[in-house]
Structures are given as C-alpha cells and as structure tokens.
Symmetry: C2
C-alpha cells in the first residue's frame, strides 16, 4: 500500500445552544483540519487536528506545506522510519520558525502523523489498539521522536517500559468508564445544568466535569455545589477553568473549590506557566491539578512532570504531533508515575484506542476517558459509550473517518 | 488620523552563499509578514513579523483574520486602549486555540501591534524612541497587556519602574555598540570566517557571534578558538547553538566552550525546556545562558526569569506580540535585574528604538544590539551602524517601512 497523494479537508461543525462553551472559548465551531493519505489500493488514512473553527484553513494549508515527503512511501517502509520522518517534518528548516513544535505547524503535523497510524492499522485490517498491542517494543520505538526528552527518557528506558508484563486486558471485553464533559458547559444556565446532571447520571456516568471561570466566581461555586450534591460523595467532580485565572486568582479559586473535593481542577491558568502550576499542584491543592490540552509538545510535558506541576496528564493526540508524540508523552508519564487522562479534541474517537494501549501495555491507572458526544453523527464509526462505559472499537483503523 | 483599512504584504528576501544559516535553519529566506494600517491621511503604519520564508503566507492570512477590530479607530483612541485591545485580539475566542499566544497567530499579532506603534509615532511626527520617552508612565501602561504576569509584576509595580529617574541619555547623541552576527554563519567555511572576522574588526566591532551546533563538535571548538584568538581577550565572543543540542549534549558543549570565555552561550537547547536552561545557567555555566528569540510570549519570559534560567534576555518584538509585549518583557527583566539584549528578526530596525527606551527609561545595561546587515537595501530608512555603533534614528516612526 503506497501513498500516492495527500489531500486535506476543512471540516467544520457548528454547535448550538451554548454547547462547547467555556470561560475563554465562547463561540466554538468544532472543526478538524483533516489530512487524507490517498493510496494505490483505494484505502485512505485519515488524520485529525482539532480547532475551534477560526484559522482551521491555516492548519489545512500547513498540512500541504509539510506533506510532500510522505508521497511515494509504502506503508511498512513509512512506519519503520516514522520517528525519523516525524523529526524531519518537525524540524523543517523554514517552517520550524513558525513554532518550533507548537501552533499551526504542530497541529498540521498532528493531522499527518495521525493519518499515518490510521493507514497502517487499515493496512493490517485491525483497529489501532490491536496494532499497538501487536507491535514489538522495537517497532513501536521506531515510530517515536524522543529528541529533547532523552535527559528524562532514553530509548533504552522506553524499551524497558514497553517490555513490562501486560495487565488489565479485561478492559478489552468489559470496556472502561467515560466521564461526562457535556453536562456543564459554561453557557448553560443552572436549570439546564441540573437537567443535564440528571440525564448524565441516568445514562450511567458517575464522573462529571463542570466548566468554571465565570466572570462571577460565586456562580462557579454555586454550580459546583449543585453538581456535588447531585452526584453524592461517591461521584467524581472535575472543575475546568480553561486558563481563565491569573495565579493569584487561581490560588483563591482552588482553595474555595477544595471543600467540594474535586478529583481535579483543570487548566487553572495559562498553559505556559509551569511555575504557577507547580505551586498550585504542590502547595495550594496538592495532587489535584490537571492540564495538558494546550501543551504543544512532549518537551512541555517533560518539564511539567519533572517539576511535579500536574497530577493528571491530559495529553491530546490531536494537539500534540499525533499518536507518535502522544505515545512519547505516555512513556514519560509512566516513567514519572502520573496517569494520562486524555483531553478529547477528537471526541474520543482516536483516544479510545490509545487509552487501551496505556492501560494494557503501560499498566496505567485510572483507565478513564472524557466523553463529548456532540459530533457523533459526523463520524463513520462513532465511539460506542453505553451505560457510561466506552466499548472497544472493532473496525480497522483509528475510528477517525468523517462522513 | 483614522485607520481605514488593514492590508498585508508577503515580503521575501532570498539570501545567498550561506548567509543566515545555523544548526537547524539551513536555507533561510528572510521574510516579513507585514501588516499595513492604511489611514484617511495617507500615512501608513507598518508592522513586521519575521519568518524564514515557509509559511509566511499563513502569518499574512492570520493578520487579516485578526485585523477587523482596528478598522475605524482613530490613532489616539487606539493607543489609549491598546493594552485592552491587545488582550482582546490575543484571546480571540476561536483563533486562541491555535496558540494560545504562540506560533502563527502570535506572529500575526506582532505585526499588527508593531504597525500600531509605527503609526502612532508617525502621527506624532517623531521617531518611536522619542514617542516612548515622551509618554507618561500611565499612557505607556495603557498600551500593555499584563495578564498572566501579575503575580510577578503588578500594574502598580510597572508604574513604579517607569517613574524612575532617567539615565544614560548620552546614548542619544553617542549611539551604542552593535555586535556582529554575520561573521560566523554556520554555512561559512573557516577561510570565509577568518576573512569576515578581519572585516568585522576593521568595521569597528569588538563583539562577534559565532554559530555553533555543527554535526561535528570539534568544528565548533576550532572555530570558536579561531574567533577568540582573532578578537583577543578584550573582545566578546558569543556562541549560538540555535537549539541544536539535547540537554546532555548541551552540558558537554557548554563545558567545552567555557575555557574560551564566551560572554554567553545562546539557545543551547529547546526553548520550551525551562528546566534544562535553569540547570545550564545555574550549574553548568553559571550566568552565561542567553535565550529568547523563540520564546513566544511574556509568560515564558516570566518563568525563565523566576527560575533564573537565563542571564541575557533576548526578547524580539517581531516574535513576541509586538512592541507592547516587548515592553512588558522589558519591565519584567528590569524587575528581575536581567539585561535585555534583543534578537533582531527586524534586522535592528525596530529594536534600535526599543534599546534606547530600555537604556534611558529603565536604566538597563549593557546597552548593546545585534547587527545583521543582509536586508539593508530593502528598508526605506536602514539602521545606521558606523564604526560598530548604532546611530540614533531621526525619521518619524519605527523605521520598518520596506521599499
């Protein structure tokens, strides 16, 4: 199976009624800059990068600017050298200046890398999770670019982590719990929030995320209390500020939310502020900080892990440079003993595979994935979440094909 | 003077013979994504963002995506609220996702902000440095977005720094020293390097930057020795690795270069690796690390300053979100007692003004600016560097108009 052409699709899906809104992103149009690897067999590799609409066309153009070295490669040849190729694309001598390894060019690389993995799984006729479980540690290592993180994770250490005995294989048959992000968007009023919590509990979820970072913090506190009372002590409440607060504001807000026992407080402040997160996670609300959906690359995750600046690693393969960099971050997280609970810019389509890899190959706990259903009708094989549980996908590929 | 329209120019200037080459950027086409603020008086505000060619068109498009709120604003009205407007553009609810505050969208904001300052100076009929010296502390503060850095620098503290007695005004008449980056591009062979050093010394420079990060480190060491011998103990040697090394490689290289007494070692590794820089600057070669040309925003500079991770602050107003963010970083640097020695993606055109502000208003030392002459013929008012000294520009504006 040989790649003959790389095309793009600028796919945008308007939401309505406040869905998807948070403290800073008030009018999202969930969108994918989509890389499509066409092959001589008719099979297509689909790779997504997520945006909120504006500028999605810039990511599509950047995909085209980066794509040329992929054309003409046979699938096995491609994947045997994917790590090297990934580094070559990431370090494009002119486009690198636009990052490096962040922003539009990194999102473009995400889409391309994800398309390679989707194509490879389709070439093998298996779901991505199965391809990942079947790969030898050496073959998997060859797909990774570990440059700039080898002070924390050498290739030899990566191999050692990949060679551990496997565990938790029961998730393949039983599925694993999702958590519901869509009950508490910031644009929903209290009535709608209350209705949604009821629906969510009725649908089998026991863990709910609430958007916080309202202009009036007493609103946040009132709503968080409402959620905690509805789910009881046994349920899990997560609060997500989406970077709204300065460090002093974040300190005050975290202390005020702490009595409600949030499992985590997410993106309390700017993602570039390592030291602020370190302070919050070690001194203000120890072990309760989650972040990562806006960390552009493995190097930032490495620093956060080294500094103890987060407790939950919210890597996202449609923000990072694709599955390859997600796996590199997973290995780093394992090394530092922190769990990955992905952010799902992909609506869980791709991450449902990656969570199984982390659970079974790396033995990560908890096994837990965000659930956002708004784009379900637009996927060819939408993730199946039943009674609050993600079911294991069986179709070949990475479940990212759009209708 | 009212802004009637925002247009863009995608300006690219090919170099030749290895000029501009470094360890990672091997074929640069010096380029400007240029924002042009058209007004009802016929005056134009010109704002630059620098790239290496590839993707310059993406930055131009992003300028257009962000520009709309500027149209219809009168110059004084604009500048009285520039800080607020800057934050609004930086936090565009959809485009923010492409950063936040980094990459293509941040470069676009740089071009727009720089164009605003150029226009304002032209409206006053003065060079930018004079406008900056004439502004009240309060008026200057109103041009800044200090969000996410107020834990390190409150608006009140910024005002206090701006109210200090002025110093070093003699630089306005005497000029200040430049340093030469163009003697030692990585693509130049030893013969050309030796010739260039001779030319550079003959032209009055006493400080030279050498590109390092060759695939063979012995080449770096040989060339650095060649420079040190040519300039003598009194001259300043700076070594610039342009992010080539991993942390272990950087440690070895810095230790090996230290006996040659480099004034600084620049960009030893990836700009996102705060902790690596901290280790290098505090333990390996204390007080000798320079970085910043790839730091996208004030928040990253804040962390580097808080962590003691650099000794020389190489902010660049055509990488940061323009003059406004450069000034915010200058205030932070002053607060932490570290000098700003700008990187000149603008070839010094804009920074020659900003250095004077830092010297006179903030009392920063050393007063020193990189010099790269390759684009001299393309500017309407090229920076005048005579006998190694930057002369004070007298034309109205920010000296960024392109022919």
């Amino acid at each position: 199976m040989t790649i003959t052409q790389v095309s793009v699709r600028d796919a945008r899906f308007p939401l309505s009624g406040g869905a998807g809104t948070d403290s800073l992103h008030t009018n999202p149009v969930y969108s994918y800059a989509t890389a499509l690897l066409q092959t001589d067999t008719g099979a297509t590799g689909t790779g997504l990068a997520f945006t909120l609409g504006g500028g999605n066309e810039l990511v599509c153009q950047a995909i085209q600017l980066l794509a040329e070295p992929l054309v003409g490669l046979e699938t096995e040849e491609l994947m045997a050298q994917l790590g090297t190729l990934q580094r070559r694309l990431a370090d494009h001598p002119q486009l690198r200046w636009l990052g490096p390894h962040k922003g539009v060019v990194q999102l473009a690389l995400a889409a391309l890398n994800n398309a390679c993995w989707d194509l490879w799984a389709k070439a093998h006729g298996v779901p991505l999770w199965k391809l990942l479980l079947d790969l030898s540690p050496e073959a998997l290592l060859a797909t990774l670019d570990l440059s700039y993180v080898d002070d924390a994770l050498t290739p030899a250490q990566a191999l050692e982590l990949l060679r551990q005995p496997r565990s938790q294989t029961h998730f393949l048959t039983d599925g694993y719990p999702g958590y519901d992000t869509s009950a508490g968007w910031l644009g929903y009023d209290d009535t709608k929030l209350a209705e949604n919590i009821k629906k969510s509990l009725g649908a089998g979820f026991t863990a709910l995320k609430l958007k916080v970072g309202s202009d009036d913090f007493t609103r946040d506190l009132r709503r968080a209390t409402l959620v905690r009372e509805a789910i009881g002590d046994a349920g899990s409440l997560m609060c997500d500020a989406n970077q709204k607060w300065s460090l002093p504001e974040a300190e005050a807000a975290c202390r005020a939310l702490a009595p409600l026992k949030p499992l985590w407080i997410e993106e309390p402040t700017h993602p570039d502020d390592l030291l602020a997160h370190q302070r919050l996670n070690t001194e203000v609300v120890p072990g309760r900080i989650a972040a990562g959906e806006h960390f552009p690359n493995r190097i930032v995750f490495k620093n956060y892990l080294q500094a103890g600046a987060l407790a939950y690693v919210q890597a996202d393969a449609v923000r990072l440079a694709g599955v390859s960099e997600f796996l590199a971050v997973s290995l780093l997280a394992k090394k530092f003993g922190k769990p990955i609970v992905p952010h799902v810019g992909d609506m869980g389509q791709l991450h449902q595979h990656l969570v199984l890899f982390n659970a079974i190959v790396l033995g990560q706990e908890p096994v837990f994935l965000e659930h956002i259903p708004h784009l379900k009708p637009h996927f060819v094989h939408p993730a199946q979440v039943e009674n609050g549980v993600y079911k294991t996908p069986q179709e070949p590929g990475a479940s990212c094909d759009l209708r």
